[in-house]
């Protein structure tokens, strides 16, 4: 089994990808990956959340 592909999507790989997505297991595997990714992206906006106390502490050094 090869670990990496040279290019993510190639002419050769399209048909195999489509066949795989048509299988129940393939579709489920793909859906699960994308669900995990959606959960992860939902957490990304945490960088815009601040502790109020941290913003009020003076920078004094």
């Amino acid at each position: 089994m090869k670990k990496h592909l040279e290019k993510p999507i190639t002419k050769k790989s399209i048909e195999a990808t489509v066949d795989w997505l048509r299988t129940e297991a393939g579709a489920r595997q793909f859906r699960e990956k994308m669900e995990r990714s959606s959960k992860y992206t939902a957490q990304m906006s945490d960088c815009m959340v601040f502790e109020k106390e941290a913003l009020l502490e003076p920078v004094t050094l």
Binding site: M1, K2, K3, H4, L5, E6, K7, P8, I9, T10, K11, S13, I14, A16, T17, V18, D19, W20, L21, R22, G26, A27, Q29, F30, R31, K33, M34, S37, S38, Y40, T41, M44, S45, D46, C47, M48, V49, F50, A54, L55, L56, E57, P58, V59, T60, L61
Partner: protein, 550 residues
């Protein structure tokens, strides 16, 4: 020294530098030797890439920033304080006072305008104060190599200098030490940041006293404003608003998030202000020593392979940032901070935790053991001063590209690739459209001429988010260009620039399978896939669809 004397010339040595610092300020040998700046600047001037040889002291120099501070505070002191400064110029070539006298008298001299300019390192203004003597400092930074994997200082600019009619210049970002009267560290960091944004966004650069006053105008502190004891994040943000820019505050909760923001904005020439808590590097854990602020002036990239963004399989060029160079007013200009992944045990309000940290140049003696403790920067908070039309934040673009990358790597799963790792490396950064088009034009010859014409003549906003994808260690794959002025919830994609014929054909082929729900559901929810499905490679719409045309 006679009163008429306007300059002095001496060979640069640690001793001569110290003598000048003492004699041209109101300080003492003990104070100068105890200052970290003195040690740091000597190390810099002696380094192999700088090699300072000669100092020219320009006497009774009128410094605009000090004069502003002087007129607001120092002039009203009971004790007489000098209002003129001394400016020390540093050169990489050796010459003596007679050489400069001969040159300025029009006599034959071993120095020329060219030799002075070629060997010019920069200057330091020495303020006539008892302790905080380092005023406006413009020194050239350490060299950048031709390679991409080296130091980058995208926000520096050319400072013209006139020394008795001799035109000199230095490429840098100005630095100065806090005087603890008009400015604490936050004000000094803001002043350096405004040195960068002033030229970029065309605003007046306020003096330290003006920054402190404007920061506290609407958000006052409990005690008196001047002498300044420091600013909080709200006040720093207010100082940015007062000059007509918008502050974007980022809570850099992970190391990769920190790197991504630093790289994404700094490559777009936006200087950043960083606030952080300073902790001692101890295994047992320590209470914070205090909060500090610095201006980020540069970064360096490592060529080594680095882990994916937060271990998600998303390869991001920004994760290669291994050091940042900061104007730390307690250390000096372009002080190195390593992003080395080291966790630090912290104790705050009785709570113990382990947090990622950055190295600093801070050192102090432990109160109990007396041992030297190295300072670590924890809980970094980034403040980006932005032009008001740069509305869409980095994280919005990062999220969209991440999702698209997940789709592409999801397609690999069917090929037996269980690593979930895409071979694509993403370079996400802010750019002016002029800089993007200039760089694109330089690729002329390597890109299809029709595509070149379509991209270069496309109307775009002043600033764009560029997401450049490469495969196989640098081979161009595609660029995604996003609008910075749009509505975050809407379609921000301006266009896709496709460099790979096989990708262009294959992705459109794949999107054409209407019977596969997994493809079609993502097609409806992803601007990038939608664009690829409705446009040809040149960017001409070939199908109907709800994508905005500019």
């Amino acid at each position: 020294m006679s009163e008429a004397k306007s300059f002095e010339v001496c060979e640069y040595t640690e001793e001569s530098f110290k003598e000048l610092l003492i004699s041209k300020s109101d300080s003492s040998s003990a104070i100068i030797e105890s200052k970290q700046h003195y040690e740091y600047l000597n190390r810099y001037l002696k380094s192999s890439s700088v090699q300072g040889k000669t100092i020219v002291a320009e006497l009774r120099y009128v410094d605009h920033d000090f004069l502003e501070d002087y007129s607001y505070y120092y002039v009203k002191c009971f004790r007489d304080l000098e209002r003129k400064c001394c400016r020390l110029h540093f050169f990489q070539t050796s010459f003596v006072e007679e050489d400069l006298v001969d040159f300025l008298s029009g006599k034959p001299s071993q120095i020329t305008k060219e030799s002075l300019n070629d060997s010019y390192i920069g200057f330091i203004v020495i303020k006539p104060l008892p302790k905080t003597v380092f005023g406006r400092t413009c020194l050239m930074h350490y060299g950048e190599k031709a390679s991409e994997y080296t130091r980058h200082f995208p926000i520096t600019r050319k400072y013209p200098v006139n020394l008795f009619g001799i035109e000199l210049s230095v490429q840098t970002l100005a630095f100065q030490e806090q005087d603890r009267v008009a400015a604490a560290c936050a004000t000094s960091a803001l002043w350096s940041v405004f040195q960068g944004t002033g030229k970029l966004f065309q605003h007046a650069i306020p003096s330290p006293i003006e920054i402190t006053k404007s920061a506290t105008k609407h958000v006052p502190i409990e005690s008196r404003v001047i002498p300044s004891v420091g600013l909080n994040a709200h006040q720093m943000a207010q100082a940015i608003r007062e000059i007509g820019l918008e502050p974007l505050t980022v809570n850099a909760i992970t190391e990769d998030l920190f790197k991504a923001h630093v790289y994404g904005y700094m490559k777009g020439k936006i200087p950043l202000l960083m606030g952080f808590s300073l902790y001692g590097d101890s295994k047992e854990g320590s209470e914070p020593r205090g909060k500090h602020a610095v201006a980020i002036g540069g970064y360096s990239l490592t060529e080594k392979n680095v882990p994916s963004y937060n271990g998600t399989g998303f390869l991001l060029k920004a994760c290669r940032v291994d050091r940042i160079f900061v104007h730390d007013d307690q250390i000096g200009p372009f002080a190195k901070m390593k992003i080395d992944g080291k966790p630090v045990a912290t104790i705050k309000n009785g709570k113990n935790s382990n947090k990622y940290s950055l190295s600093t140049s801070w050192k102090w003696a432990d109160n109990v053991t007396g041992e030297l403790v190295e300072g670590r920067a924890v809980d970094p908070l980034l403040l980006a001063p932005l032009y008001n039309k740069i509305r869409v934040p980095y994280i919005t673009i990062h999220t969209r590209v991440f999702h698209f990358n997940e789709f592409l790597s999801g397609m690999n799963l069917g090929q037996g690739d269980t690593s979930s790792t895409s071979e694509i490396e993403w370079d996400i950064y802010l750019s002016s459209v002029n800089d993007f088009k200039k760089a694109f034009l330089e690729k002329s010859g390597a890109i299809d001429s029709n595509l070149m014409l379509h991209v270069l003549t496309k109307r775009m906003p002043k600033y764009v988010w560029v997401c450049n994808a490469t495969i196989n260690c640098g081979e161009p794959y595609l660029d995604l260009l996003f609008d910075t002025t749009g509505i975050e919830q809407g379609n921000l994609l301006l266009r896709v620039v496709e460099y790979d014929d096989e990708f262009s054909e294959s992705i459109r082929n794949l999107l054409g399978y209407k019977d596969i729900a997994e493809i079609q559901s993502h097609l409806n929810n992803c601007d990038i896939l939608k664009w690829l499905n409705t446009h040809n490679r040149l960017g001409v719409r070939i199908k109907e669809g709800k994508t905005a045309e500019m």
